[in-house]
């Protein structure tokens, strides 16, 4: 009986060691072809910048401006040196001076005509700088490349945690080549973390249409080229969740849709 157990254990060990799976340390993968769940790279629909509608707006924060806690990077001297002049604070809630929220993700959730939207060939960059992800929140189309680079003289691992797309986790040493990755399925939002530096967080909004934006230092967003119609527009924030609004636009309309998020 014991020989059987030992044999089973050895077989399992050999199988696990030899089988493929996550955790390899390959870098600079070639761009993946999107699978059937994503718009084809040759999709024909594009935003109509000439006749399409434009939605602009602000995401305002209602409440006392929270004080973000400083990040303790003492575990890594390289990270500490990058913020020697002023300690890095958490980016969970960033309220701008004008009372608006930075890094809110705004997108057209529903109402678009049934079209396959063209995926941009340019990649969106996600950098690791000063042991922080930059930018903190990005938006990409399903199937669009994300250029993951490291500007830090220290090691990182990039670990997105999607629920709809496939999960992966790869290391990235200093000076190594960029990694080109994409997610074939719409998913709002995919958290990304580094298990070496537990304070590092980023979020990737993967959308199957090109109508999305991330608010910046002035808390504003602009979505252009929308076909006429009635849409559900949603704002997402990592701490405060989501909020939906309905908006109707006609050809060449320019409408404002603001959001107020309560703290």
């Amino acid at each position: 009986m014991k020989k059987i157990w030992i044999g089973v254990g050895l077989v399992c060990a050999v199988s696990l060691v030899s089988c493929g799976g996550g955790g390899d340390t390959k870098t600079a993968e070639t761009p993946k072809a999107p699978d059937s769940g994503a718009p084809a790279a040759g999709g024909s629909a594009t935003p109509d910048m000439e006749n399409g509608a434009t939605i602009t707006g602000k995401v305002t924060f209602d409440g006392a401006k929270p004080t973000m806690k400083p990040i303790d990077m003492s575990a890594n001297p390289v990270c500490m040196r990058a913020h020697a002049s002023s300690p890095q604070k958490s980016e969970e809630v960033q309220v701008n001076d004008n009372g608006t929220l930075k890094d809110a993700f705004v997108w057209i959730k529903s109402g678009l005509p049934d079209k396959t939207w063209q995926v941009p060939t340019t990649a969106v960059t996600l950098d690791q700088k000063g042991c922080m992800y930059s930018p903190h929140v990005i938006g990409v189309m399903a199937g669009q490349n994300i250029d993951i680079k490291t500007s830090d003289p220290t090691n990182h691992n990039i670990h997105p945690q999607p629920t709809v797309n496939s999960e992966w986790n790869e290391s990235q040493a200093p000076g190594s080549e960029d990694k080109m990755k994409s997610f074939p399925r719409q998913e709002v939002m995919i958290p990304v973390k580094c298990n070496i530096h537990p304070w590092m967080r980023a979020y990737i909004g993967v959308v199957s249409n090109p109508f999305y934006a991330v608010t910046g230092d002035d808390g504003s967003y602009t979505i252009k080229g929308l076909p006429p119609g009635t849409y559900t527009i949603e704002v997402w924030h990592e701490k405060f969740g989501t909020q939906d609004q309905t908006i109707t636009v006609g050809a060449k309309d320019s409408k404002t849709q603001d959001f107020t998020i309560k703290g």
């Binding site: 014991k2 157990w5 030992i6 254990g9 399992c12 060990a13 696990l16 060691v17 089988c19 799976g21 996550g22 955790g23 390899d24 340390t25 973000m68 806690k69 990040i71 303790d72 575990a75 890594n76 958490s90 969970e92 220290t154 090691n155 691992n157 670990h159 999960e167 992966w168 986790n169 790869e170 290391s171 040493a173 973390k193 580094c194 298990n195 070496i196 530096h197 537990p198 304070w199 967080r201």
Partner: protein, 320 residues
């Protein structure tokens, strides 16, 4: 003389196993579980760059390898069913750990890994208790001491674990043959603490809320108090029983306190951008004392079963 060295060696293995449990808890509490994305290599080599969360994960793997070797030696030395069981368990545990890395730490695997760690610790405790049994016990019911075995069991065989039923014992230290409830409650204490461990692991890895774990804490504390106080009230004159029950009760109460501190520290640091030292300390201590409490319950149950009279125990419970 060989039994004395084997006993000391099993204590050493127990110590390293507890260290391994602590190392695993540090990995989880520091959110470092996948800082080494590959297995069995680490960053494509034997020794990865030791920075940040990698230090915790690599230390855990290093200790796991050490414990595996120690347990292999123990199993070969013992050559008993219990020894082989411990070996199979630690191999399975290593494979579970590797699978957790390969499949990006899914909740079910992580919880299974945590539970098996506690089970492995309990089995090593059983080896230690069995080794203690192989020594000649004093028949003085007021003083129970262990001396290195200097004699065999009359069949010329070394008395260790597998001959627990033949281990010398005094009539005065045997359980009352009608006292089945003591055996039953000691087993219930073991089972309830293991279930509580599983619930704790489920909370740690996001598989469930903290509510079942809190309910489990109440249930397992009651079960432990029932077993421990029952033994203290009935067998206070037996130093071994008294000490074992007291240790179990003390560890369980300490565990409840640590659980409270761990929970409160988690709430207090919920908005912090990274795991904070206070939360990590209390949580890791909670995991370690949980293992000790479970081990103490296993030890008490084995001692109780060992002392069950032969006519009730059908020849004694062989733990090896």
């Amino acid at each position: 003389m060989e039994n004395a060295w084997l006993y000391r060696y099993s204590i050493l293995v127990l110590g390293f196993t507890l260290l391994l449990v602590v190392a695993g808890a540090l990995v989880t509490s520091n959110d470092a579980a996948l800082s080494i994305p590959d297995w069995p290599l680490a960053w494509g080599r034997l020794i990865p760059p030791l920075e940040g969360g990698i230090r915790f994960e690599f230390a855990h793997r290093l200790l796991a390898a050490t414990v595996s070797v120690l347990i292999l030696i123990l199993a070969l030395w013992l050559r008993t069913k219990l020894g082989w069981t411990v070996l199979v368990t630690v191999v399975a545990q290593a494979l579970l750990g590797g699978a957790a890395v390969r499949f990006f730490d899914p909740k079910a695997l992580s919880v299974a890994h945590a539970c098996l760690a506690q089970l492995c610790f309990g089995l090593v405790v059983a080896v230690v208790v069995g080794g203690a049994d192989s020594r000649v016990r004093s028949v003085d019911t007021h003083v129970d001491t262990f001396r290195p075995a200097t004699e065999t069991n009359g069949r010329g065989q070394s008395v260790w674990g597998s001959e627990i039923a033949d281990a010398p014992k005094s009539v005065e230290t045997s359980l009352d043959s009608a006292d089945r409830s003591v055996r039953a409650t000691s087993i219930i204490a073991v089972l309830s603490l293991f279930v509580q461990t599983a619930l704790g692991a489920a909370v740690r890895h996001g598989a469930t809320s903290v509510v079942p774990h809190i309910v489990g804490a109440i249930v397992s504390t009651v079960a432990v108090m029932w077993a421990g106080l029952q033994i203290l009230m009935k067998y206070m004159e037996n130093a071994l029983y008294r000490r074992s029950a007291s240790i179990l009760l003390g560890l369980t109460f300490l565990q409840v306190a640590l659980g409270l501190f761990a929970y409160m520290s988690r709430i207090a640091t919920a908005d912090d951008p990274q795991p904070m030292p206070m939360m990590i300390t209390f949580t890791v201590a909670h995991v370690a004392v949980g293992a000790l409490a479970f081990g103490a319950a296993v030890a008490l149950a084995l001692i109780v079963y060992r002392d069950t009279p032969e006519k009730e125990n059908h020849g004694g419970m062989a733990v090896a």
